[in-house]
C-alpha cells in the first residue's frame, strides 16, 4: 500500500485490517479511525535471535507495529521524507532512517563489511553506522528520512560513484560497495580535506544521498 506524501516532511498511510505496517517509534504524527501502535519486542521479524543480532549490529532501532483501520500520518524530527517504491527489489538502508514501511516487505540484515577485517571495521567507525544495514525486499513502499533533500544517483556498471559515508542514505540494485581512502597519511592526520573516506559503489541500481553530512 503506497504512502501519500502530504508535504516534504509528512506522509500519510492507509491502514486496513489484515495488513500491518511498521514504523519508527514516536514517528506517528496523527491518525483517524481505530489504529493501535504496538512496540516490537522482537525488533521486527525473525524472533529472538534476530533481535540479538540486531542489538549486536547496533541496528536495534525501535520499531512499532501499526494495525487497525484508518489513516495514519508519519513524520519525524522535521526531516525530509522520501517514499521509495519497491517492485521486487532489495533496498539497503540504515535502520534509523526508516520512517515507516509495508509489513509485507521481507526484512533482513546485511553485513556491509564485504572486505571484512580492518577496513570493514573502519567503515563502521567512520560512518558511525553499524556493519549491518537493514534490507527490505519485496513489493511495497518504504518511507525513508533524510536531512535535507534526497539526491538519487543512478549506478551503471563500470562507472563507480563515490559517496561521503555521512551523506549516504540507501541504495538498491546489484551493487558492490567498498570503502576507499582517497588520501595519503599526511592528509589524514589533521590536514585532510574532510573527504578522507569515501564509500565506493559499483554495479547497476541507484544510490540515495542526502544534502547534508549530518547523520540523523
Amino acid at each position: 500500500m503506497p504512502f501519500r506524501e502530504l508535504s516534504g516532511k509528512l506522509v500519510e498511510a492507509q491502514v486496513v485490517p489484515g495488513q500491518r505496517l511498521f514504523s519508527q517509534r514516536g514517528a506517528m504524527v496523527g491518525y483517524r479511525g481505530e489504529v493501535t501502535f504496538t512496540p516490537n519486542v522482537q525488533g521486527g521479524q525473525g524472533g529472538l535471535m534476530s533481535m540479538i543480532g540486531r542489538r549486536v549490529a547496533g541496528e536495534a532501532t525501535p520499531l512499532m507495529t501499526v494495525e487497525g483501520n484508518g489513516t495514519v500520518m508519519f513524520g519525524h524530527g522535521g526531516h525530509h521524507v522520501e517514499v521509495i517504491n519497491l517492485d521486487g527489489d532489495t533496498l539497503c538502508v540504515e535502520a534509523d532512517r526508516l520512517l515507516a514501511f509495508d509489513g509485507s516487505l521481507q526484512q533482513g540484515t546485511l553485513f556491509l563489511g564485504r572486505d571484512g577485517g580492518v577496513m570493514g571495521m573502519v567503515r563502521g567507525q567512520v560512518s558511525g553506522q553499524g556493519l549491518f544495514t537493514t534490507t527490505l525486499t519485496g513489493r511495497g513502499s518504504v518511507a525513508v528520512m533524510a536531512h535535507g533533500g534526497i539526491l538519487q544517483l543512478p549506478l551503471t556498471p563500470g562507472h563507480p560513484v563515490h559517496v561521503d559515508p555521512q551523506a549516504y542514505v540507501a541504495h538498491f540494485g546489484d551493487v558492490r560497495n567498498k570503502l576507499s581512502s582517497a588520501l595519503g597519511w599526511r592528509d589524514m592526520v589533521g590536514r585532510g580535506s574532510g573527504e578522507a573516506f569515501q564509500l565506493e559503489l559499483n554495479g547497476s541500481g541507484a544510490v540515495f544521498v542526502q544534502a547534508s553530512e549530518e547523520k540523523l
Binding site: L6, S7, G8, K9, L10, R25, G26, A27, M28, V29, G30, Y31, R32, T36, F37, T38, P39, N40, V41, P62, M64, M73, G75, H76, G77, G78, H79, V81
Partner: protein
Amino acid sequence: MTSQTPHGSVPQGYQVFDAATLPANDNVNPYAFSVDLDGQWFLQKGKMIAYYGQIDFQGIGHGRLDGLVAGSFHSPLHAADWVVAEGRGKLLLADRAFDINSFDLEDGNLTVRSGNLLAFDPALTLKQSIIPGFLTLIGTGKFVAASNGEVHFVEPPVRVDPQALVGWADCPSPCHHYDHQYMRGVLGGMRAVTGLGGASGEEHQFEFVGAGTVLIQSTETLLADRSTGQVPQQAGVPGDGGSGGAGGPGGQQLPQLPGQLGGLQRRFGL
C-alpha cells in the same frame, strides 16, 4: 533566466525586492513573511531578519505601551520574549527557515503552540490557553506562525501526537487520549515485568472531536516553546510533572517578568 541588476548578476530564478515591491502582509517565499507596518505589531524576539523604513522596537512593559499591552497582551509568562514594533516600513520575519503561514481571524479564536507564534496584529487579543504551552488568539486580525514543514489542516475527529500539534481553531474539546489497550495488554504486562519492549511512544495523544480545524506539523521539539503553567517532561505532554529543564524545577514556573533574561535564559537552560 539570470536577471541583470546595475551591479551584476543575481542567482538564477531569484527576484530582487525593494521597499516598494516587497509584498504587503504576505509571504515573500514559504519561509519569509513581509509585514507592511504602519502602526504597531507584536513580534517574538529574534524573528526580524531585515526591515526598510523607520521602525522602533520596544520591550513589552515599557511605560508608553502600557495601554496597548493591557488591551492585547495577556500572557505575563511570555512578556520577556516579545517586543512591539512601531513605525512605518516593511518588516521581514522568519524563523530558522521553517515554513511561515499567516492566518486571518474573523471574529474567531485560534490556539497555537507558543513557540510557533511569530507575530500578531494588536487588533487581536493574546491569552494563555489552559493547555500548557499554548496561546490563544481571539478577535479579528492577522497573525503569523511558523511550523516545521508545511502546516497540514485536518478536520476532527482526529488524534494527534502532542509534539506534532501546531494548534487548533474552534475545536470545542481538545482532550487527552491514552491507549489503554496497550497499557493493560499482554505487552504492557510483559514490559512491566521485564522492562523489555519499551513503549511505542504513542500511548498518548490529543484527541479532537466536533467541528473545527486542527493544525499539524511534521513534528517534534525543534521549535523551542515555553510552557505555561506546569512544565511537562515532553513538549505539550501534561501530567509528567518533572522539569523540562527550561522552565524551572518541580513543575513550578514563575511568570517571566520583563528584565529577566527571557530567550537567552531559555536557550541556555538557566
